[in-house]
């Protein structure tokens, strides 16, 4: 074998050496930072998945609170639904009697409030289409 020539086996051995090798991911980040520090590349805004989920959860919570507050404000208040005059006219009973009946049915819990509205829409509000509609709407709001 001539000293300056590679044998076929030697060529093959050199050719079999790997030409590529993966460096660590940290090196890529390091290099990106170094280039960004020089102003040659502009780093992308990274919105991480955790931040997205946190934002979504916060938005849901806010939506719920706002919805709940609105619902509270627009909750069924039977005394505002049925003015005393209307009840008297329709049922033919004295206004005082009707108000007494309503007072007995008026309860503090919201669930029962909705049942009052349903009852009134079915009985007391008979003959008053605008009141029926309002009562139904408020029942829907409750649910």
């Amino acid at each position: 074998m001539h000293d300056d020539e590679l044998t076929p086996a030697e060529r093959e051995a050199f050719a079999a050496l790997p030409r590529e090798s993966l460096a660590s991911d940290l090196l890529e980040e390091r290099t990106v930072r170094a280039l960004a520090a020089r102003g040659w590349i502009h780093p992308q805004r990274r919105i991480r998945a955790a931040a997205v989920w946190t934002g979504a959860a916060a938005a849901c919570l806010l939506f719920f609170v706002v919805g709940f507050s609105l619902g509270q404000k627009r909750s069924v208040r039977p005394e505002t639904l049925f003015p005393a005059g209307a009840e008297t006219q329709e049922s033919g009973t004295p206004a005082g009697t009707s108000t007494q009946g309503m007072a007995m049915e008026r309860v503090s819990s919201k669930e029962e409030g909705s049942s009052v509205a349903m009852d009134t829409s079915g009985s007391l509000a008979l003959g008053h289409p605008e009141l029926q509609t309002k009562a139904r709407t408020q029942v829907v709001v409750w649910f």
Partner: protein, 193 residues
Amino acid sequence: MTLQHGMPASDRELAEVILRAGSERAFRELYRRHSPRLFQLARRLLGGDVHAAEDAVQETWIRAIGGLGSFRWESQFSSWLLGIGIHVCHDALRKRRGDREDPWDDTAQHPSPDRAPGERIGERVDLERAITLLPDGYRTVLVLHDVEGMAHEAIAARLDISVGTSKSQLHRARRALRAQLVPSGEIGTSRGR
């Protein structure tokens, strides 16, 4: 990264996006495309020192992106990048050596390379390991010529040495390598990883 025509972006297209908009995404694409080759070359030239090779890769990209605007695209981007990498590694080796010795001195008597505890003279060692054990000047020319396939003229131009020096360094490098690998002195009987 693909462009509007749906084909993967070429090196030149990515480079233009980097120059025009400083796109990190385009840079990452270019980086991932060429860094494995660059890292392997740097690791070999720097004698298997992974940390030094990583530093060299980073420095190469810094120099490449800094000079991207002046690249004329008359050669392949990969060749240009590897050329910068060779310079960076050459600088790193020079810095590491200091002024203690001239790696291209043909008259210098290089000491026997350090051997791992289990390695004895005449015992087979892995080709990759044997390359790392060569003196810097020998290893540089051998890697560029026998592994990377560069011509002596190109090596001489890259390393700022004469063609004659490149040839003599290669001759000595092969002789040293054969002596390390097997008693019979043939490289091919020991395969690299």
